[in-house]
């Protein structure tokens, strides 16, 4: 009997220990990032361009660049994703075609981000001649987040009660009108939440934009979608690995990390708040 309880305790201890270790590691990580970066961040840091070989000044162009790229990615992925989800949720019938599409979406979701980078380089930058640009980067990031947006939108569409569709169809309203006037408006909060979460992912991705959009330094802000941009994740990477002044720019690196983490989490928190508000005010 005693041995049995010993084993029980040992197992439970391991489980609790693992969870504690993970929790401590995560907390420690965030606290560390925050403490190191907090002192660096100031109004100037957010609103000024880098100076003196990146060792002074701020990161404003990188913030702007990341905003452009993320919004561009959303502009690509949102319409494609929502309409694909409408097909999957409202129109598709079980069968080979549907299975084929679903496997395709899952495989696309599993493609490593650096391979997306290669694809963007081969197709948009070289073949289409967009060069390294906001356009090429947005398209690449857009296709990267497409499976996430499809998944979130489909889930939101499927959550709309079947009775709403029946009521509308029963009135002699066509399927498309039922979809656009009843199903989609009611799925909107869910679609938005999922899309915002995927924006957070797009904002933090580095590998797909390395060869398709990101620049080490640009003298001025982008003027068109064919311009290269600076971007927060790439800025971190470059400052931390390239050049001769890695140690000198370390504070700026920590500051940029904190801004990026803050941005991504800010986006996620907006999505989470939106979701809980939508749940509270859910009208069915």
């Amino acid at each position: 009997m005693k041995r049995r309880y010993l084993k029980q305790h040992l197992f439970l201890l391991t489980v609790r220990g693992s969870a504690l270790l993970i929790a401590l590691a995560i907390c420690g990580f965030f606290i560390f990032i925050f403490v190191r970066g907090y002192g660096v961040i100031s109004w100037e840091f957010i609103t000024e361009a880098p100076r003196d070989m990146m060792t002074k000044g701020g990161i404003m162009p990188a913030i702007i660049g990341t905003l452009y790229l993320t919004l561009g990615a959303l502009a690509v992925a949102l319409p494609l994703g929502v309409l694909a989800a409408v097909y999957l949720s409202e129109y598709a019938k079980e069968g080979r075609l549907l299975r084929f599409i679903r496997v395709g979406i899952r495989c696309l979701a599993g493609v490593p981000s650096v391979v997306f980078g290669l694809f963007g380089l081969g197709l948009f930058v070289v073949r289409f001649g967009f060069g390294s640009s906001i356009l090429a980067g947005s398209l690449t990031l857009g296709f990267l987040i497409l499976p996430t947006i499809i998944g979130a939108s489909e889930e939101a569409l499927k959550a709309v009660p079947r009775t709403f569709r029946e009521a509308s169809l029963g009135l002699g309203v066509s399927k498309w009108q039922t979809t656009t006037r009843i199903v989609m408006p009611n799925a909107l909060p869910g679609i938005l939440t999922g899309s915002i979460l995927s924006i957070g992912r797009a904002a933090g991705e580095t590998a797909p934009i390395m060869f398709t959009a990101a620049a080490f330094f640009t003298a001025s802000l982008p003027k068109s979608i064919f311009d290269e941009v600076m971007a927060l994740p790439y800025h971190i990477y470059v400052l931390a690995t390239a050049g001769t002044r890695i140690a000198e720019t370390r504070p700026i690196q920590y500051g940029t990390v904190l801004v990026l983490v803050g941005l991504v989490f800010g986006i996620n928190i907006i999505a989470i708040l939106l979701r809980s508000r939508a749940r509270k005010t859910k009208r069915w």
Partner: protein, 295 residues
């Protein structure tokens, strides 16, 4: 009649949108091959895959990616060694042991980690873990297999934990009750009943976690050390495939042999992650069919 035609038209347009993902996937494969295959005019497939020398910028250059493949596999293996027990046990904690309020804090914490940009983790590995390793073990560099595996494991834990947790939740309560009724302790019930019942879900979680680790770029690019050689110790630096692609693509002129060699490396990487993903898919698909009825 016109309305029926219009509806049919709309349905087919929507189908096109649904097919975009498949088309993109096809284009990705097409471009990898289009830009990758030319390298085999210079080097044979066997020499490319199993060649021990990766010196693409030397004269004459060598295009053997074996060290890169080994680098990818080694860091993924050690990351798995850490991440699987930690991820699975954390999930067991959340699903079976954690009291309500603790769960309310722990779950979002893990979700936060999942949403963290990988460049930030890579940066952390460079700036914090590397000096720590270097000083503690008195190494020439802290950027090595151990560092990369640690950071990759940290990244893979949320993926493994959240999917495992779902699998544990889907184990019917009757199973647990039956076990308790036989006088089994909580630990025995978890080990002998709950975890075996959730096994395929856990396997799916592990596969997806590994797929994420092997395809991860920024972490290995920043902390694996970058040495294109087959490692001899866990403190050796390596150059996993994604790191090689990301680091060298900037310098490889478009259309050069080096450029094609990097795309060909992309082919290998693509199919390796695909294998992990399809394995995960296969396991979860089988799981759905058999359901809770089979233990």
């Amino acid at each position: 009649m016109t309305r029926t035609l219009k509806e049919l038209f709309i349905k087919n347009i929507l189908l096109l949108f649904a097919l975009v993902s498949v088309i993109i996937l096809g284009l990705i494969v097409l471009f990898l091959f289009l830009e990758g295959l030319p390298v085999f005019e210079v080097v044979s497939v066997a020499d490319f895959l199993f060649g021990l020398e990766w010196y693409p910028t030397y004269d004459p250059p060598d295009y053997g990616i074996w060290p890169l493949i080994v680098g990818s596999l080694v860091v993924t293996f050690f990351a798995a060694l850490l991440a699987i027990p930690l991820g699975v046990l954390s999930a067991v904690y959340i699903a079976e042991l954690a009291p309500g309020p603790v769960k309310e804090i722990f779950k979002p914490l893990v979700e936060l980690l999942a949403g963290l940009p990988s460049v930030v983790l890579g940066f952390f590995g460079m700036a914090v873990v590397a000096p720590l390793l270097q000083n503690t073990f008195n190494l020439p560099t802290g950027l090595n297999i151990v560092n990369a595996s640690l950071i990759l494991a940290f990244m893979a834990v949320p993926t493994i934990a959240s999917i495992t947790e779902d699998a544990l939740y889907s184990v019917p309560a009757e199973f647990k009750e039956a076990s308790y009724a036989l006088g089994a302790t909580k630990a025995e019930t978890i080990v002998n009943v709950v975890m075996p019942a959730a096994l395929s879900g856990i396997a799916t979680a592990v596969m997806l976690g590994m797929a994420r680790a092997i395809g991860e770029t920024m972490v290995v690019l920043m902390v694996a050390g970058g040495a294109a050689a087959v490692p001899e110790s866990i403190f050796d630096p390596v150059r996993p495939m994604p790191a090689s692609i990301a680091a060298e693509m900037g310098e490889a002129p478009v259309g050069s042999i080096h450029y094609h060699a990097l795309f060909a490396t992309g082919i290998v990487l693509f199919f390796m992650t695909l294998a992990f993903n399809l394995a995960a898919d296969y396991i979860s698909e089988r799981f759905r069919e058999t359901g809770s009825g089979t233990l």
